[in-house]
């Protein structure tokens, strides 16, 4: 199938970001091989194979129902909480397989953090939201400093430093989401997974979160699921496009279609399905 070498994307990719070194020089945080996920008898993902690289923002895009959330939740074993969930294939994190049954999901989640679509701060004070996790995980030394550092990294410190004892629920939606980010960062994860972190927020709050990603990827690695192509184009270094495949008997599941640098995905995708999606022809 002839594919034009450059296309008119529906989305403008910022080209002023630095070009990435070739992939062989990048360090992989995750190596995912042939990941298949099933809820009971319904398949959700089949045969996903890709890497996630350190200190990059990796976006996962695709139409609704293509398994983006399922995929990201496999990375920190959150799918274990869903009854009748089974997965096969391997996920290697810094070389260690974290997908097996003998792996302790709690330990996994301590180094791979997650921020959710709807802000879900604890009904505690702002300070306690960040401090509680630190206490439980045994990082009690210099507690106040750690809390301040986390809130600063999440660009929230200046706004809340005078009311740390106030209830977290008194913050605006955007502030609550940044608090959730601070909470996740406080326990010093290696990777932060984000499942549509800005979809419940207004544009200004969204912009604040995207700005955070630019600054924080120096210290962490991010995987972000987004249904918003423009957002992926703005923040992501690498982009993975998932789409829905249909089987002979009518079953539907998600598959990784294409995974490349954001620029390539949006300007010269190799797969026609990717091209259809990013040019807005469907999805």
């Amino acid at each position: 199938m002839p594919v034009s070498s450059t296309i008119e994307p529906a989305v403008r990719v910022e080209t002023k970001r630095q070009p990435l070194p070739p992939r062989e020089h990048l360090e992989a945080v995750f190596e995912i091989r042939d990941l298949t996920a099933v809820y009971g008898s319904k398949p959700a993902l089949k045969g996903v194979t890709m890497e996630v690289y350190k200190h990059l923002v990796t976006a996962v895009i695709g139409p609704s129902g293509c398994g983006k959330s399922t995929f990201i939740r496999c990375l920190n074993r959150m799918n274990d909480l869903v009854p009748h969930f089974r997965q096969s294939g391997t996920i290697r994190y810094h070389g260690q397989d974290i997908s097996g049954r003998e792996v302790d999901p709690v330990a996994v989640r301590r180094t791979i953090g997650m921020v959710f679509q709807r802000p879900n701060p604890f009904p505690k004070s702002i300070y306690e939201n960040v401090a509680w996790g630190l206490r439980v995980l045994g990082m009690k030394d210099n507690l106040s400093e750690r809390v301040e550092r986390a809130l600063t990294r999440a660009a929230l410190w200046d706004e809340v430093k005078d009311r740390l004892k106030a209830s977290a629920l008194s913050l605006s939606g955007g502030q609550q989401q940044r608090l959730c980010i601070a909470r996740a960062l406080a326990v010093e994860p290696d990777v932060v997974l984000m499942d549509e972190p800005a979809s419940a927020l207004d544009p200004i709050a969204t912009q604040a979160i995207e700005q955070l990603l630019h600054e924080l990827k120096r210290e962490y690695s991010f995987v972000i699921v987004t249904h918003n192509m423009q957002q992926a184009a703005r923040v992501a270094d690498m982009t993975a496009f998932f789409s829905i495949s249909q089987g002979a008997e009518g079953g539907r599941w998600g598959e990784l279609v294409e995974y490349d640098t954001t620029e390539k995905i949006f300007t010269a995708p190799a797969d026609p399905r990717t091209e259809d999606y990013v040019t807005g022809r469907f999805g």
């Binding site: 630095q18 990048l26 360090e27 350190k54 792996v103 302790d104 709690v106 330990a107 180094t111």
Partner: protein
Amino acid sequence: MSTFDATGISARRPVTGRRVRPGDLLLQVVAGLAALAAIGLVALIAYKVVDGARLSLSTFGLRFLVHSNWDPVHGRFGAAQFLGDTVVTSFGALVLATPLALGIGLFLSELAPTWVRGPVTALVETLAAIPSVVIGLWGIIVLGPLLRDHVDPALHAALGFVPLFGPASGGSNVFTAMVVLAIMILPIISSISRELFLGVPVELKEAALGLGATRWEMVRGVVFPYARGGVAAAMILGLGRAVGEAIATAQVIGAFDNGFSWNLFNPGETLASKIALDFLGATTKLEISSLFYLALILLVFSLVVNLVAQWIVRRVSRRQGLR
């Protein structure tokens, strides 16, 4: 010009290791044991009651249910008269209470102006909160004499040809117990009915009214049929409550165990009141065991009532889910 750290590092924290945390295990086990103990408790109740009734069961078997003697001196026991009085008082209470309760439920859900609903609902709930012993006290001192002096003779005079309304004597009789029980189960049926009526979808009611039906026709044609199942369950729960009530019944029913009579104005005894009044004074093993047998009948009955009410509720909500 790479700004990326490409040197390999090992993960800062190992991720393989112990699968189950002791804290999780402890919580799950302790909580699980509690749940198991609750189920065990119910089984233990059933066991203890059956065990206590064993002597009487083996002596009388099922004839116990049809014989009417209760003779501790000669060791002859039968539950028939108490079954009879229990049925009469409970069903009678249901007959008295249900129309009133439905009326109140309707009143509070459809007809009352909003400023009245709150206070009246609170009042009905207060009635539900009054302990049975207090209602029984009121029954002995206020209701009993009132019925004895004014209502019983009047009913006998007007309807004496019906065996139910025979000659009246004292204030403590089956009829008084019936009225007391009706007062006690009224709040249960009315609050459940009220919620059911409130739960009828507005669209259905508007459809009927839009066709030109009067308010009463709408209630009769839409609200009642929709709530029918739930009201049946409420009535069954009320029945269960009336059957199981020992104290208030014991206070006003007159403690008479020399046979069953259809005359509502005669004293009598129900299963529950018999146990309440006689248990501490029981002397022979057979008498005690027979009282346990009465308790067994009550236990089986309450189980059936509960399961039937649950079944109705499940069937109704399934059907309504489809609507």
